[in-house]
Each structure stands twice: as structure tokens, then as C-alpha cells.
């Protein structure tokens, strides 16, 4: 029986889809049987981030309406043969899938896959409730901004109310130079406010934009700092104990005095 992990955030634009794509791909690279499910019906994007947009025939709504078999809708990746995508529907309404149907779908998927990673839409309404319906674990993505952390706090409360306890946090788009100069909240600040376990930190990195342009997740690129951060997170998901990445590369005075993220 596999794990069903929902990637959520409340706020839009913090990197849910990028995180899903990188963790899914990273897990596949580690040899795991993985399926990623895009539940953002009407605004599908995970296909594009993964570079699989030209291969979609059926989608999640077709599956729950039994217009096709589950196997027909699963897109098999050509780079990693143990990695699949179940795309969202682009034309249908977000009420096209019901929570009960999501539970059934997730139960079927986890029989065949070790990891079912669900990309949740922004917001706390219908789409969110659907996305978490069949999940047994949650990853909350935030960025070091007041609005994103506030929404993360709300989402953590809603997840726990729905019986998904101890969600794990990923802090995305950290800019070490701004943290050093006191113009960006540090990892410690955010953890203190949210009181939640940290799964990983991801630096703000231009290579993410390039990899998204190319439909090739950054985790496949060893030269990408964000990609390496995602690789570390994948190892933690698999149960390995990996220290937090030290994000400061140009070692300045402050970095020498105190390493912000090190030795945890």
C-alpha cells in the first residue's frame, strides 16, 4: 500500500505544482513507483511543468465518470518508466469531481503505486477538499512572506480538522542574501510562528524558470541548487536523515559569524 501525499498551500503561486513535479520526479529517479495527480480542474498545469502536455488523451474527470479506464488516463513518462501523471480536466468545472470519488480513486492508485502525489489547487474550497479527501499525509508549501505564511497557518488548521495530522512544511524561494540583511524571514522565524515540522528548504533559483520552460523538472539537473534541495527532500520522504542545505554560497561576514541554516 502506497502513501498518498497532498501538496498544498492555500495561497496560489508559492510553488505547489513545481514542488509536486520535482518531488514526483525525484521519487521516480530514486526507483519508486510514482503517480502524480493534478486536481486543479479547469487550470491544469502539472502536465506542462512535467513536459507531458502533448500526451493527454483522458483526464481525471473521465476516470471518475468512467468514460475510460484508469489505466487509459495514466500518462507514462518516457524518461522514467515508473512515473505516471493523471492530468486534470481543462474544460470541465471544478465541481466535476466529488470527495467520495477522490477517496475511491486514491485508494485504487495506492494499490499500484508506492507514492501518490496530489497537486492541490489554491484556495480552501471545493478543489482543496477534493485534493485532501484521499490523502493520508500532507506537505504544506510556503514562501517567506506574510501572506503565504498566514495562508499556510490556515491550511494546517484545515488539514488537522480533516484528520490529516502533522503536515510537513517546505519553505520555498528563500533568498539567502535577503535573509542575511534582515529583509526576509528566516527558516527559524517561520517555524517558530507555525510550529510545524520542516521537511525542507528550497532556494529561489533561476534554474526553476529554465526547467519549467523546458518541461524538465529541476531535480534532474545536478547543477540546479533548487534541484539539489528537492533531491534532499525526496531522500527525507524516503526516510533518510539528510541535513538542511546551506544556502549561502558567497560566504560573507555574516555567514562566517553564523550559518543561518546549518547544524540543525
Amino acid at each position: 500500500m502506497g502513501e498518498v501525499i497532498v501538496v498544498t498551500s492555500g495561497k496560489g503561486g508559492v510553488g505547489k505544482t513545481t514542488t509536486t513535479a520535482n518531488l514526483g520526479t525525484g521519487l521516480a529517479m530514486a526507483g519508486k513507483q510514482v503517480v502524480m495527480v493534478d486536481t486543479d480542474i479547469g487550470l491544469r498545469n502539472l502536465d506542462v511543468v512535467l513536459g507531458l502536455e502533448n500526451r493527454i488523451v483522458y483526464d481525471i474527470v473521465d476516470v471518475v465518470r468512467e468514460n475510460c479506464r484508469l489505466k487509459q488516463a495514466l500518462i507514462k513518462d518516457k524518461r522514467y518508466e515508473n512515473m505516471y501523471l493523471l492530468p486534470a480536466a481543462q474544460t470541465k468545472d471544478k465541481t466535476a469531481v466529488k470527495e467520495e470519488q477522490m477517496k475511491v480513486l486514491c485508494a485504487r492508485l495506492k494499490e499500484e503505486f508506492e507514492y501518490v502525489i496530489i497537486d492541490c489547487p489554491a484556495g480552501i474550497e471545493h478543489g482543496f477538499k477534493n485534493a485532501i479527501a484521499g490523502a493520508n499525509q500532507a506537505i504544506v508549501v510556503t514562501t517567506p512572506e506574510v501572506s503565504a505564511v498566514r495562508d499556510a497557518d490556515r491550511i494546517i488548521g484545515l488539514l488537522e480538522a480533516a484528520g490529516i495530522y502533522e503536515p510537513k512544511l517546505i519553505i520555498n524561494r528563500i533568498r539567502p542574501n535577503m535573509v542575511q540583511s534582515g529583509d526576509m524571514m528566516a527558516v527559524e522565524d517561520i517555524l517558530e510562528i507555525l510550529s510545524i515540522d520542516l521537511l525542507g528548504i528550497v532556494p529561489d533559483d533561476d534554474t526553476i524558470i529554465i526547467s519549467t520552460n523546458q518541461g524538465e523538472p529541476a531535480v534532474t539537473d545536478n547543477n540546479s541548487k533548487a534541484g539539489r534541495a528537492y533531491k534532499n527532500i525526496v531522500k527525507r520522504i524516503c526516510g533518510e536523515n539528510v541535513p538542511l542545505m546551506i544556502l549561502t554560497d558567497n560566504v560573507g561576514f555574516f555567514a562566517r559569524v553564523k550559518s543561518f541554516f546549518g547544524n540543525k
Binding site: V146, R150, R154, G157, G182, D183, M184, M185, A186, I193
Partner: protein
């Protein structure tokens, strides 16, 4: 840091507060507001029961008239309890 202290420092600019500290303080306040708004009734009921049992050890209170609630203003959320005392034990 107390809120007035924080505002003082922020507005007087005697001491330059980094923007990260401003963010953190704003977030702390907004989360107190958010969390208190979504606090389940059961929490306030449990708090009320606990207050009654603790205070009753020291004095007799009017349980029916006891009021417990959160009062919100812009810069803080305060827990207000109004507890009428019926009788106080004589000190020995």
C-alpha cells in the same frame, strides 16, 4: 516585545527595525486574530470549566453569571473574564 513598544520603535525610527522583524510582528498579530476567529466553541467551554474549577478553590463565584470572551482590537486580542465573587473564605 510589547505592542506599544513595537509601534513606538517602528514610528519613531529611533532604532531601525529590519523589515523581517516587521513582517514577523505583523504575522504574529494576524495569526492571533485568525486563530481566535476559528477557535471552536469547545475550546472556550473547556477554558470556562477550567477557570471555574481553579478559582473555586479560593473563592465562591457566581458560575451562572461568569463571562469569558475574546476582545479584539487592531493591535491585540485580549481574553476577558468577568467573574462575580459570592463569598471569599476568611484568611487564617
Amino acid at each position: 516585545m510589547s505592542i506599544p513598544g513595537f509601534l513606538n520603535r517602528f514610528f519613531s525610527k529611533e532604532q531601525n527595525l529590519s523589515s523581517k522583524d516587521v513582517a514577523k510582528e505583523r504575522l504574529r498579530l494576524v495569526l492571533i486574530h485568525d486563530r481566535s476567529a476559528s477557535l471552536p466553541d469547545s475550546v472556550m467551554l473547556a477554558l470556562r470549566e477550567d477557570l471555574i474549577s481553579v478559582i473555586s478553590k479560593y473563592m465562591e463565584i457566581d458560575q451562572a453569571a461568569l463571562e469569558v470572551g475574546l476582545t479584539k482590537s487592531d493591535d491585540e486580542v485580549t481574553l476577558i473574564a468577568n467573574i462575580p465573587i459570592l463569598q471569599i473564605k476568611r484568611a487564617v
